[in-house]
């Protein structure tokens, strides 16, 4: 994990100017003082695509994937890789606690946790991609429910399929909101590598 990149993103979320060593320094201190609450976990599931129309269906998966955007995302894919990540509930509690004890640190930690979650999710997913790519496939980017016209309730369906509550402690509210807050659900297309 490249901490410099995490800090850089967090500074951007917080509206810091391009080069601000003082702000950067402060975020590093907040990170150092709170990194103990980051507990990243991930769970994956690989599903074979069995039909594209009228909606995308996957083998052994109970729900269809609806909308144009996911159809484009999975165009040409043989499999869909479901991925769910979370940084854990302790981060949320710490952000809340700090919002009362030291509000400025709370918003800083919130931004750091968001950027950390994105980066660690990518990093963990990379390992999974490598395994899949070793078998002669290529993978595209992580597409999340809520992007384009892929409905937010897809979050709940994927979480159910991955048994995410039991495996990584990820829950989804009725409105499709992920809890713990620093969590990500995504779909990666897995395509056959074209012979060169």
């Amino acid at each position: 994990m490249d901490l410099a990149l995490v800090i850089k993103d967090a500074l951007r979320y917080l509206g810091a100017k391009e080069r601000d060593p003082e702000a950067e320094n402060l975020l590093r201190r907040v990170y150092d003082g709170n990194a103990d609450v980051f507990a990243p976990r991930a769970v994956y599931g690989l599903y074979e695509i069995t039909s594209y129309s009228p909606e995308i269906k996957l083998k052994d998966y109970a729900f269809p994937l609806v909308g144009e955007s996911i159809r484009r995302h999975l165009a040409g894919a043989s499999y869909a890789l479901f991925a769910a990540f979370t940084l854990g509930i302790a981060v949320d509690k710490r952000v809340r606690e700090l919002s009362l004890a030291r509000p400025s640190e709370s918003v800083a930690l919130n931004a750091i946790a968001s950027s950390y979650a994105e980066r660690i999710a990518d990093e963990m997913l990379l390992e999974e991609r490598r395994k899949i790519e070793a078998d002669g496939y290529k993978t595209n980017f992580r597409f999340c429910p809520g992007y384009g016209d892929l409905p937010l309730h897809t979050n709940e369906e994927i979480a159910l399929a991955l048994n995410a509550q039991k495996k990584i402690g990820l829950t989804v509210t009725e409105g499709g909101l992920l809890l713990p807050r620093k969590s990500i659900v995504g779909i990666v297309g897995v395509m056959k590598e074209v012979e060169k």
Binding site: D20, L46, S104, V107, L152, Q165, T171, T173, R181
Partner: protein, 761 residues
């Protein structure tokens, strides 16, 4: 089993997946659609030797299974297990799959109602016992356990699931779960799922050390592995049985399997158990209190009970309780935790408020913010009952005394909820000497144990009386502590500061008295952990709070109060403002120091020259300064702004930033919190007629809820201007939902407030 063990079955979900169940579908629907498949799995376990078959009802919950006849699913589930020849059938109950309030949106009462339905259906269908399993949230486990005890007459087993770090996803450790659930009269407690049997042994050993009931363990067949796209579990039946041998030897008597275990695993387990006898466990004896994530044992070393959450003599806390300013209350809790308190006393007794309702709310909020166990301090039966019910651990109740009405009111609650109980040395008379105190203590222990309270669940308060009227009282109390500790072998608490009531130089007297009582064997003084004099006595136990924040910045040449605001210097602002007050009026300080400094930082923030934490740090400093100027009296009065995060949305970070900045500009804010129902917003406006209402929503899915709130306000004839904000909001969205203003950020919202409130005034 004949030899003293009870054998459960193994997995159902993974068995059904192997027979074609799709990922994401509910395995429980197979009870109706594929009854033969479910019955066959049960039968295989019966043949393998399982005495208790777990009905296929794990996820059968009206909350999760919409558009499904859950009653039919549950009743079929119990019936199929019976048809398979089960000697006994366990109704399987688990989590809702979402978080409880205030972390999530599911209320305790709703969760309880769902569990009550499930449990009644299960008992009607003929279940012989209840298995509450795979729980991560101790409060939800308690909710299910209470529902089972109150709605059925069945025995209830409860198991939690832990990760490799030895905690559940919500942070509960096995000791805390065991102490709490045993106290709540679970018929067996333990662990399931989580890890493989071999890795689980340390968890199991700590559970066996503290469980006052039988222990149940149902591990996975090791960790899941994937090969050729198929999931399998690494522990073979032989490996599983071998690891379970150590688990049984640790003192576990109820055994079975979870994910990945098969009838072969259970058969091997049965063969292994046939050759063993249960290991006798000594009955554990301890005096403890728990939160959802922590156990505090009384006895070995001194534990500090923080006393600051008690409105007696505290004007600001009193105002916060009356106005429902939960953030102020939480800040008091957090400060005490940071200063080193082990337990927090919570008392909200005020004639102006509904104590039961307030205590319940404060306990809910405090337990989700700090990790310390709570001591619920009230003499109201209703308040204690409600607070004990929604409290996530084993609380301490403060207190019961020898008066009949006190015993009759408090004892049933302590018994039912497994609370640790403070017995106060007081009856129809007041003890004066140490002998009298000891006699009261002895009588209390006799009376309480006769009525079913365990001796180890009793803590004695030897009663501190002021030395202002009788100088011998300090020594008499300390002597009584020594006698109770040594002769009665019971732990003790004392409200230390009472000793100096009516005296000058109270802290010094208190500290000296504290030292004396600790020498006498006092287990837990109740005191203000922020007081330095106590920290000196309790060497290394309490730490002084660090008031300097990380966010202090280069001054850029600014000096004085403005400089402190500009640089985020929190420590020292109060003194600087007090000094300024000697020569200047409060209004002068606000208009010439606070506002210009905030404006300057605000403009820099708008230009992108400083980042958000710096703006907030400035607001923090001003807020502290404002507190000095205003004093507690100014806290009352009608609010200028009502703030709420709308129903269904629990993102409140943005709203809290807006609140903070508004307050630092001197606006009075009524914060309704997050996930706020439209009716509550309307009621708040009708009560206060605040000129401005700010609503926030972060998700596209909760914007409709924002519109409903605005429509409801208009329908109620509200004349308030409405400003909206939040990540998904845009000026267009704001118009569409019927708002008057769009607040891009906190700074913008301050400008809106200035415009609206100036007009209103």
């Amino acid at each position: 089993m004949r030899n003293g063990f009870i054998l459960f079955d193994g997995a159902m979900g993974t068995m059904l997946q192997a027979r074609g169940l799709k990922a994401g579908a509910f395995p429980e629907t197979y009870n109706l659609t594929h009854p033969d498949v479910v019955r066959d799995v049960h039968r295989a376990y019966v043949e393998a030797g399982s005495e208790i078959i777990t009905a296929n009802t794990f996820g059968a919950n009206p909350f999760k299974m919409k558009n499904v006849d859950v009653e039919a699913v549950i009743k079929a589930g119990v019936r199929l297990a019976k048809e398979a020849g089960a000697k006994k059938v366990a109704l399987d109950v688990s989590a809702h799959g979402v978080l409880l309030e205030p972390n999530g949106t599911l209320s305790f009462d709703e969760a309880y109602a769902n569990y009550a339905k499930i449990l009644k259906w299960g008992e009607e269908a003929g279940a012989d016992l209840v298995l509450i399993e795979t729980m991560s949230d101790l409060l939800e486990a308690k909710c299910a356990l209470l529902a089972a005890k109150e709605n059925t007459s069945l025995p209830v087993y409860v198991t939690m699931t832990y990760m490799e770090d030895g905690r559940t996803f919500l942070g509960t450790d096995p000791v805390t779960a065991t102490v709490t659930l045993s106290a709540l009269h679970a018929d067996a407690v333990g662990v399931n799922c989580s890890l493989g049997a071999a890795d689980m042994l340390p968890l199991v050993e700590s559970i066996c050390k503290y469980a006052t009931c039988p222990v149940i363990v149902q591990p996975n067949a090791g960790l899941p592995k994937v090969k050729d796209g198929k999931t399998y579990y690494e522990d073979t039946p032989d490996l599983f049985a071998a690891a379970m041998k150590n688990i049984a030897a640790a003192g576990v008597t109820i055994l079975g399997g979870c994910c990945g275990t098969t009838p072969e695993h259970i058969e091997k387990l049965r063969e292994m158990l046939d050759g063993m006898t249960p290991t006798a466990r000594p009955l554990p004896v301890y005096t403890a209190a728990t939160s959802a994530t922590k156990t505090v044992f009384l006895g070995d070393e001194v534990k500090v009970i923080g006393e600051r959450l008690n409105p007696t003599g505290k004007k600001k806390l009193k105002a916060a309780l009356i106005e429902g300013d939960i953030d102020y209350i939480l800040k008091e809790a957090i400060d005490q935790e940071r200063a080193g308190a082990d337990i927090l006393d919570v008392n909200v007794g005020l004639p102006e408020i509904d104590e039961a309702k307030t205590l319940e709310r404060v306990v809910k909020e405090v337990q989700s913010t700090v990790s310390l166990p709570l001591q619920l301090d009230s003499s109201s039966k209703e308040a204690l009952e409600r607070a004990c019910r929604i409290y996530a651990g084993k609380p301490i109740i403060n207190s019961v005394n020898l008066k009949k009405e006190s015993l009759d009111a408090i004892l049933p609650i302590a018994l039912k909820y497994g609370a640790t109980l403070v017995g106060l040395c007081l009856g129809d008379t007041m003890p004066k000497t140490h002998e009298e105190r000891y006699a009261f203590a002895e009588k209390l222990v006799r009376e309480l144990t006769a009525r079913g309270i365990k001796k180890s669940d009793i803590i004695i308060d030897c009663l501190v009386l002021t030395i202002a009227t009788d100088a011998t009282q300090a020594d008499e109390t300390a002597l009584a502590v020594k006698m109770v500790t040594e002769k009665l072998d019971v732990r003790t608490v004392l409200g230390v500061s009472n000793v100096s009531f009516g005296m000058p130089d109270r802290l010094k007297i208190n500290a000296a008295f504290l030292g004396k009582c600790i020498q006498a064997g006092l287990s837990a003084p109740i005191l203000n952990p922020l007081v330095e004099e106590y920290a000196e006595v309790l060497k290394g136990k309490l730490i002084s709070l660090d008031t300097s924040a990380y966010f202090t910045f280069d001054t850029g040449g600014a000096e004085g109060i403005r400089g402190m605001i500009f640089c985020g210097v929190v420590g020292g602002i109060e003194d600087a403002v007090r000094e300024a007050l000697k020569t200047r009026s409060p209004l002068d300080i606000i208009n010439e120091e606070f506002i210009p400094a905030l404006d300057e930082i605000g403009v820099k923030f708008e230009k992108g020259e400083v980042f958000l934490p710096r703006l907030i740090a400035a607001a923090e400093v001003v807020k502290k300064g404002m507190d000095v100027l205003k004093g507690p009296e100014a806290e009352s009065g009608e609010p200028d702004v009502i703030l709420a995060t709308v129903k269904g949305d629990i993102h409140d970070i943005g709203k809290n930033i807006v609140k903070m900045l508004l307050q630092s500009y001197g606006f009075k804010v009524l914060d309704l919190g997050k996930d706020v129902d439209e009716k509550e917003v309307v009621a708040a406006w009708e009560r206060t007629h605040a000129p401005l209402i700010g609503l926030s929503a972060l998700m596209t899915t909760t914007v409709p809820s924002m519109k409903r709130t605005i429509d409801a306000l208009h329908a109620a004839g509200s004349s308030a201007k409405i400003a909206v904000g939040g990540a998904v909001l845009t000026p267009e969205y704001a118009r569409e939902v019927g708002a008057d203003y769009y607040g891009k950020d906190a700074r913008e919202t301050v400008k809106i407030a200035e415009e609206v409130i100036r007009k209103a005034k």
